[in-house]
Symmetry: C2
Subunit: 332 residues, 2 copies
């Protein structure tokens, strides 16, 4: 089968489409013919990871497709069933295998391209807002990078599941407009405003109960100013750098801050299965009802994976960047 890996760790120019062996589903697993996969920042980090040794892995952590073989006892997944899922062993490929218990059964209303836009960002947004962030009705949440994949998912979930007050930051008027359309109550252009000052204005000087922070070091001080006493601060990325100089833990004590650092990809299969189960129960009905939407910025053909990576690196997207394998089917 065709799959995307790298020549060597480095820039998007190192991406290659090569032949790999079609995987065989183990006990409890499904074999899926992939119809679409999505680009995530973790793919770019893996691509650049100088620790990687040859043979290099297949990139990608999520996909949508159809069941081609069911080697599990779960009869829900007949051949041809439309599904989407997180994937452990690379999703930029014509076929993947995954544990049946971690698969989302895609409603007919949702296309494959929309389907692959769901697992990583919506599961991450759900996990960080509710499992880790314990967001409650009537609380205020600050969602950074509102135009990103997780940002667009988190805005929708926070409004639809809890009717929380959502403050979001982004770097352009277009992205902020889009965040408003998704339900954000207040938007802040971090390039032209000090977001912590605006947050304190909006919250009568109290700050927010919850922060979803993809940015890390460069926002540290302002996030600290923006958080309320007893607030929860969920750290899920370091787009703005990893190293914070001079963390004042005395101040953290003063505000009784809870800081939770998290990444979804390396968590256990059991954790992801339980998260997927709860997500399917609580959120999938909102997709079916058209109240929550997978947000797609742009679809690239599979062959243009390098362009798709560069597009993400340019930070231009609002929502997900998708690779479609539908053309592969037409050729076959």
């Amino acid at each position: 089968m065709k799959a995307v890996s790298i020549n060597k760790p480095g820039s998007a120019a190192e991406l290659i489409i090569e032949k790999r062996e079609k995987p065989t589903p183990q006990n409890g697993e499904l074999l899926i013919k992939v119809k679409a996969t999505a680009i995530n920042r973790t793919d770019i980090m893996k691509r650049e990871n100088q620790q990687l040794q040859s043979p290099y892995p297949i990139l990608g952590v999520e996909m949508a497709g159809v069941v081609e073989e069911n080697n599990s006892s779960n009869t829900e997944f007949a051949l041809g069933t439309r599904v989407a899922s997180l994937v452990n062993n690379g999703s930029y490929a014509e076929y993947v295998t995954i544990p049946a218990e971690r698969v989302i059964h895609l409603p007919d209303e949702i296309s494959f391209e929309e389907g692959t836009a769901i697992p990583e960002v919506f599961l991450t947004a759900y996990q960080t807002l509710y499992w880790l962030g314990k967001l409650q009705q009537d609380e205020t949440v600050l969602i950074h990078a509102g135009g990103s994949g997780v940002g667009t998912a988190a805005i929708q979930l926070a409004k639809q599941l809890t009717d929380a007050k959502v403050i979001t930051t982004a770097g352009s008027a277009e992205k902020l407009d889009f965040c408003k359309q998704l339900g954000a109550d207040e938007t802040i252009n971090y390039k032209t405003e000090d977001f912590s000052e605006r947050v304190l204005e909006i919250t009568d000087g109290e700050g927010v109960e919850l922060i979803l922070d993809f940015v890390g070091a460069s926002y540290w001080e302002k996030n600290f100013k923006s958080i309320k006493v007893d607030g929860r601060w969920i750290l899920i990325g370091t787009l703005g750098g990893s190293v914070v100089e001079n963390v004042n833990i005395g101040s953290l004590l003063g505000k009784r801050v809870t800081l939770k650092a998290t990444v979804l990809t390396p968590r256990s299969d059991g954790y992801k299965a339980e998260l997927t189960r709860e997500f399917v129960e609580k959120v999938l009905p909102l997709f079916k009802a058209g109240k929550i939407h997978p947000i797609i910025d742009r679809v690239f053909p599979f062959e243009e994976v390098a362009e798709a990576h560069r597009y993400m690196e340019d930070n231009k997207n609002t929502g997900k960047i998708i690779l479609s394998l539908e053309k592969e089917d037409n050729r076959a």
Copy 2:
């Protein structure tokens, strides 16, 4: 009544015993005649706090004594009932008032000196281990400053309530011996050993699920090395400094660390009442049964409050430092 305050913010030499007005219990409150009160580090921090303005507060956050007036609807607290409690408005005094719902009814087996050794350290240890730290049966917890008030309480609770594996650090062989007697499974002298290396040895390289950290900045790197993936790190003091240089939040993400900064004293009355209620239900029976003991290092007469403060500042104590007001009674 007599009460301890300060001439001006500064050293123990600034402590003064002066006449203050006897407080009046508000609706829902008890008036308590204080028999013993205890020294806490927060008292020393308040004593030194250059922000304080005259009139200076009465120091102290906990006491044991007898009910002298009950202005609540709670009939459990007849006049003469022996009680212990956290106190908001200063406990180094002949009388205090407190909400009835926050009071621990002292069993006859527990003296007043032992009683005042319970609220701050045992409630803090209970709150940090269980409410914040979610300590589970069979987990491993690293308790720093094992000879401190909260340390001696936390070791006992972790063993008696959950049978967790307890690793503790202290700075002398005597303190470490005492920690062993309290139930600690492993003890580390932080002056002669790198505690993180020992923790990794003891845990087969995995690290501990939970850290109770009173030390802060100077232990930061070693605590990070000592914590397991998905570990909880409860920060409750900054004895080793407040400012950490170069915190690598990328590493926090890699280990998915939860860091909770907390202090008990400024929390709401409702929070303390609920904590006290649960503590009375779950832990007081263990005191009555002689399985858990308030740990007292030394009792000073009320007049020797300055000596008592200096004794704590010298870091010599294992367990609590108490001020007794019994002599005041004999004089009266």
